[in-house]
C-alpha cells in the first residue's frame, strides 16, 4: 500500500538543509538533494510533519513522550521505491525492516523525547520507536530489533 502511494509520486528535488545534517537517506529513492542521496537537518524533518505518542520501551525505565516524523511519511517524501528499509546507527548497528506496513504499525523516527532533542549519549539524534503501549501486538523480538537508536542513515533496498 505504502509502496503504491510512493510510486505514484513524481520525482522532485528536495530542498537543501540549512542546519547540521543529522540524517542521510540513500538507496532506491527518487527525490534527492545531495547527489543520489537525500540529506536532512532537524528543521527539515520537523517540516515533514511530526507525530507524537507516549509509550514505554525495554530501554527506558518510564514511559516517555516521543515525537518525530513517521517513517512512512519520510519514505513518501524521498520517493522510496523498494521493499526494505535498512537503518544504520552511529555505532554501526544495522537492521532491516519491510517498507510495507510502516504506516499501519505507526513507527516514527523520533527526534525529541518529552519535547527535548535527544543527545547521542541518550539515543539521539534519531531513534526509531513504535507505539508499543497503544499496540501490544508489536511487543515482540522482531520489532524490538528494528528500534535502532543513534540512527544516522537510512537506505531503501
Amino acid at each position: 500500500m505504502a509502496t503504491c502511494l510512493v510510486a505514484g509520486r513524481a520525482a522532485a528535488d528536495l530542498a537543501r538543509p540549512s542546519g547540521k545534517t543529522i540524517l542521510t537517506v540513500g538507496g532506491r529513492i527518487r527525490n534527492t538533494n545531495d547527489g543520489a542521496e537525500a540529506i536532512f537537518d532537524l528543521a527539515m524533518l520537523d517540516a515533514l510533519g511530526n507525530t507524537s505518542f507516549t509509550t514505554s520501551t525495554p530501554w527506558t525505565d518510564k514511559p516517555n513522550r516521543w515525537e518525530g516524523v513517521p517513517l512512512a511519511t519520510l519514505m513518501a517524501a524521498v520517493g522510496a521505491d523498494g521493499t526494505t528499509l535498512r537503518a544504520t546507527a552511529l555505532n554501526d548497528y544495522v537492521v532491516d525492516m519491510p517498507l510495507a506496513g510502516l504506516d499501519v504499525e505507526g513507527a516514527i523516527l523520533a527526534d525529541r523525547r518529552n519535547g527535548v532533542p535527544m543527545p547521542i549519549s541518550d539515543k539521539g539524534p534519531l531513534f526509531i520507536v513504535y507505539p508499543f503501549d497503544d499496540r501490544p501486538e508489536l511487543r515482540k523480538q522482531a520489532v524490538y530489533m528494528r528500534c535502532a537508536w543513534q540512527v544516522a542513515r537510512l537506505d531503501v533496498l
Partner: protein, 645 residues
C-alpha cells in the same frame, strides 16, 4: 452388571473432563509462555552487552589516533565515540536490561565500576590536550575492557541458562501434554468400549423375550428375513407357528402369574425337542414360531408339529397346579407367490387360524384356499359394514313351545343376512366376522330393538329370546340399551330373555355376575345357551344367576341312540329343578327326540319338529291359529264371539 457400569461412568466422565480441561489449560499456558519469551527483548540484551567492548575499544582507538601524525580524527569524532559509550552505559543500566540479564551482585558491581570510570573520563575528554592526557584517559578505560568482556560472558552464560530453562519447561510441557493426550485417549477408548458393551447388551435385550428367554419377534423376523434371502430352493424353508388353546382361560382362572409360568414351562419342555429348527421364538402372548431351513423343510416341520403335540400330551406345571393344554399348529412353506418373509408368516398364521376355526389342537399345512377364505372373509366383513344401512339384515323367529301340548311360549329371535349377491349367508359364517370387526355391537343393538318391536305385536304372555355375544355382554351401555328397547316398544321386562353362551362366562368372570344381577333386577330373564358344549358347565349353574338353561342340540340329537345322552339330559333337568332353573331342549327334530326329552323331565323345547324359524307374519299367523284352536277346544264363547266380530 449395570451397577458396575454406573459405578464407572461418573468417575470416567470426571477424569475425561479433567484431563481435557488440563490439556486445554496447558496449551493456553504454553502459548502464553511462548508469547512471553517472544515479547521479552532478550536477544537485544545479549547484543547490547556484546557491543559494549567494541564501543569502548573504538573510543580508545579514536583517542589514540587523534595524536598520531597526519591524523584525520577530529574532536567531534572523539565526542561521538564517547557519547556512544555514555549511551551504552544508560542502556545497560535500565531496569528491563538488568531484569532480562538476571544481573547478580557481581554484574551490578561491574556496571557500577564502569559507570564511575565513564563519569571520571568525561572532564578528561573535554580537556584533552597532550598525548599524556590521552595515555591517562586510556588507563581509565583499560580495566573497563576486561569488565565489559566479563559482563558479556556472564550475560551469554545467563542467556544459555535461560534457553536451557526454556527447553526444560518446554520438554516438561511436552511430556505433560503427551500424558494428558494419552489419558484422554485411554478414557475415550474406555468410554467407547463401555458404550459398545451397552449397545451389545441392549441389542441382546431387544432380541430376547424376557419371560421365556427365547428369541422374540424381532429376532425371529431378522432370522426369517435372513433365511428367506438365503434359501436357494423354495422347499428349503418352512415356518411353523403354534399357540396354546384357551390360554386366556388359564390367565383368567388361575391368574396371569400362572399363565406366565405355563409359557415358561412350554418353552422349557419344547426347547430340547426343536434342534431341527433354526430359531424357536416367542412372538407374542401364547404364540410361538419356529423356522426350518434345510432340505425338505416341509416334512421336517410337519414332523416337529407332531412332536410338539406329543409334548403337549402331558400337563404342564404352573407352580402347584398342573394344567393340561393343547396346541394348535400351523405350518407354511413358501409358494410361488410368496416374495416376502411376511407372506410366509401370514400363511402360517392363516394355517393356524384355520386350525382354530375347525378343531383346536390340530395341525394344518397352509394351502392357497386358506388365503381365499381369508380374502372372502375380508370382503364379507366389508359388506357386513354396509348390511345394516342397506337393510340387508333381518330377524327370524323360532317358536319355543311347551313340550306337553306344543303350545307357543315364546320365540327365539335369530339373525339373518341376505347378501345382495350371495343370498342368505349362514350366521355361523358372518357372526364371527361381526365379532372380529366389532360390528356385532351395532348389529346386536339393531336386533334387540327389532325383536322388541316385533314382540310388541304379540300377546303379553308370549316371550322373546335374544342372543347376546360376549362383546355385547361386556358393553357398558348394554343395560341402557336393553331398557331403552323395552320402554320404546312397551315390552314388560319379564317377557325378554337374554341368551348368553358359556364363552361369555369364560371370558369375563366377575363382571358377568354383576351384569346378570343388574339385568335380573330390572326383571329381565337370562338363559345360558348351548349348555354342555363348553367347560365345567355344572359349576357355572351355581355361580351365575340364570333363569333357564338351554341344553345344546348335540345332546338332544344324539339322545335316541345313546343312553348316555338321555342320562345327561335327565341329570341336567334334575339338577336344574333343584336349582330352580327352567330347562329348554334345543334342536328337537323328531317325535322320538320329543318323547325322550319329555320323559327326561324337560318341559320346554324348540326345533324343526315344531316349526322352522319364521318371519314376523308367520309368527302372527301361528299365534292366531293357536288362539283359535284353544278357543275351539275350550268352547270359549267370548273368544269365538271375538273372532266372529
Amino acid at each position: 452388571m449395570p451397577k458396575l457400569n454406573n459405578r464407572w461412568e461418573v468417575p470416567l466422565l470426571v477424569v475425561t473432563a479433567g484431563l481435557g480441561f488440563a490439556a486445554v489449560q496447558m496449551l493456553f499456558a504454553s502459548v502464553q509462555y511462548m508469547n512471553g519469551i517472544s515479547r521479552a527483548a532478550q536477544n537485544n540484551v545479549v547484543y547490547e552487552v556484546m557491543t559494549t567492548a567494541p564501543e569502548l575499544a573504538r573510543l580508545q582507538a579514536t583517542v589514540a589516533r587523534f595524536f598520531l601524525p597526519d591524523s584525520d580524527v577530529t574532536r567531534d569524532d572523539i565526542a561521538l565515540r564517547f557519547a556512544i559509550v555514555q549511551n551504552r552505559m544508560k542502556i545497560l543500566r535500565t531496569q528491563e536490561s538488568r531484569a532480562l540479564r538476571g544481573d547478580n551482585a557481581e554484574a551490578s558491581e561491574l556496571l557500577d565500576r564502569m559507570k564511575v570510570a565513564v563519569e571520571q573520563a568525561k572532564p578528561k575528554i573535554e580537556a584533552l590536550q597532550t598525548p599524556q592526557d590521552a595515555a591517562a584517559l586510556i588507563d581509565i578505560f583499560d580495566p573497563l575492557n576486561r569488565q565489559a568482556s566479563q559482563l558479556s560472558a556472564l550475560t551469554t552464560a545467563n542467556a544459555a541458562n535461560r534457553i536451557a530453562t526454556n527447553e526444560r519447561r518446554l520438554t516438561c510441557t511436552f511430556w505433560l501434554l503427551l500424558g494428558e493426550i494419552l489419558g484422554l485417549l485411554a478414557c475415550g477408548v474406555l468410554l467407547i468400549s463401555l458404550l459398545r458393551r451397552e449397545r451389545r447388551k441392549a441389542n441382546r435385550a431387544a432380541s430376547v423375550d424376557s419371560l421365556t428367554g427365547l428369541p422374540n419377534r424381532l429376532a425371529f423376523n431378522r432370522a426369517l428375513a435372513d433365511a428367506f434371502s438365503k434359501a436357494s430352493l423354495p422347499g428349503d424353508l418352512a415356518v411353523l407357528m403354534f399357540d396354546l388353546d384357551m390360554f386366556k382361560h388359564v390367565n383368567d382362572t388361575l391368574g396371569h402369574a400362572a399363565g406366565d409360568r405355563l409359557l415358561v414351562s412350554v418353552a422349557e419342555r419344547l426347547k430340547p425337542l426343536l434342534h431341527d429348527g433354526r430359531i424357536f421364538a416367542r412372538l407374542s402372548g401364547d404364540e410361538f414360531a419356529i423356522i426350518f431351513h434345510k432340505p425338505d423343510a416341509r416334512s421336517v416341520a410337519l414332523g416337529i408339529a407332531s412332536t410338539i403335540q406329543t409334548a403337549f400330551a402331558q400337563p404342564f406345571d404352573t407352580g402347584g397346579t398342573m394344567v393340561a393344554v393343547s396346541a394348535s399348529v400351523g405350518v407354511a412353506v413358501p409358494g410361488p407367490e410368496d416374495r416376502q418373509p411376511e407372506d410366509l408368516m401370514k400363511n402360517a398364521d392363516l394355517a393356524l387360524y384355520a386350525v382354530k376355526g375347525a378343531q383346536r389342537g390340530d395341525i394344518r399345512l397352509y394351502e392357497p384356499a386358506m388365503k381365499q377364505a381369508y380374502l372372502s372373509r375380508q370382503t364379507l366383513s366389508q359388506d357386513l359394514r354396509n348390511a345394516l344401512a342397506n337393510d340387508e339384515l333381518l330377524l327370524n323367529f323360532q317358536p319355543v313351545v311347551n313340550l306337553a301340548d306344543g303350545s307357543t311360549r315364546g320365540f327365539e329371535a335369530l339373525l339373518r343376512w341376505k347378501h345382495p349377491q350371495r343370498g342368505f349367508i349362514s350366521p355361523a359364517e358372518f357372526i364371527p366376522i361381526a365379532e372380529e370387526s366389532g360390528l356385532i355391537l351395532p348389529i346386536g343393538r339393531w336386533a334387540l330393538f327389532k325383536a322388541c318391536a316385533v314382540a310388541a305385536q304379540w300377546p303379553e304372555t308370549i316371550s322373546i329370546g335374544v342372543n347376546l355375544s360376549p362383546q355385547q355382554f361386556m358393553d357398558s351401555e348394554l343395560v341402557g340399551i336393553v331398557e331403552d328397547a323395552l320402554s320404546r316398544h312397551g315390552i314388560r321386562p319379564d317377557r325378554l330373555t337374554l341368551e348368553i353362551t358359556e364363552t361369555t362366562l369364560i371370558q369375563n368372570d366377575q363382571s358377568v355376575v354383576t351384569t346378570l344381577n343388574v339385568l335380573r333386577k330390572i326383571g329381565i330373564k337370562t338363559a345360558l345357551d348351548d349348555f354342555g358344549t363348553g367347560f365345567a358347565s355344572l359349576s357355572y349353574l351355581t355361580r351365575f344367576p340364570f333363569d333357564s338353561i338351554k341344553i345344546d342340540q348335540s345332546f338332544v340329537r344324539g339322545s335316541t341312540a345313546q343312553n348316555n345322552n338321555e342320562l345327561i339330559i335327565r341329570s341336567i333337568c334334575e339338577l336344574a329343578g333343584k336349582l330352580g332353573l327352567q330347562v329348554i331342549a334345543e334342536g328337537i327334530e323328531t317325535a322320538e327326540q320329543l318323547a325322550l326329552t319329555r320323559s327326561a323331565g324337560c318341559e320346554v323345547g324348540q326345533g324343526y319338529f315344531f316349526d322352522k324359524p319364521m318371519d314376523e307374519v308367520q309368527c302372527a299367523t301361528r299365534l292366531s291359529l293357536e288362539q283359535l284352536q284353544a278357543s275351539r277346544l275350550h268352547g270359549d264363547a267370548t273368544t269365538v264371539d271375538t273372532l266372529r266380530a
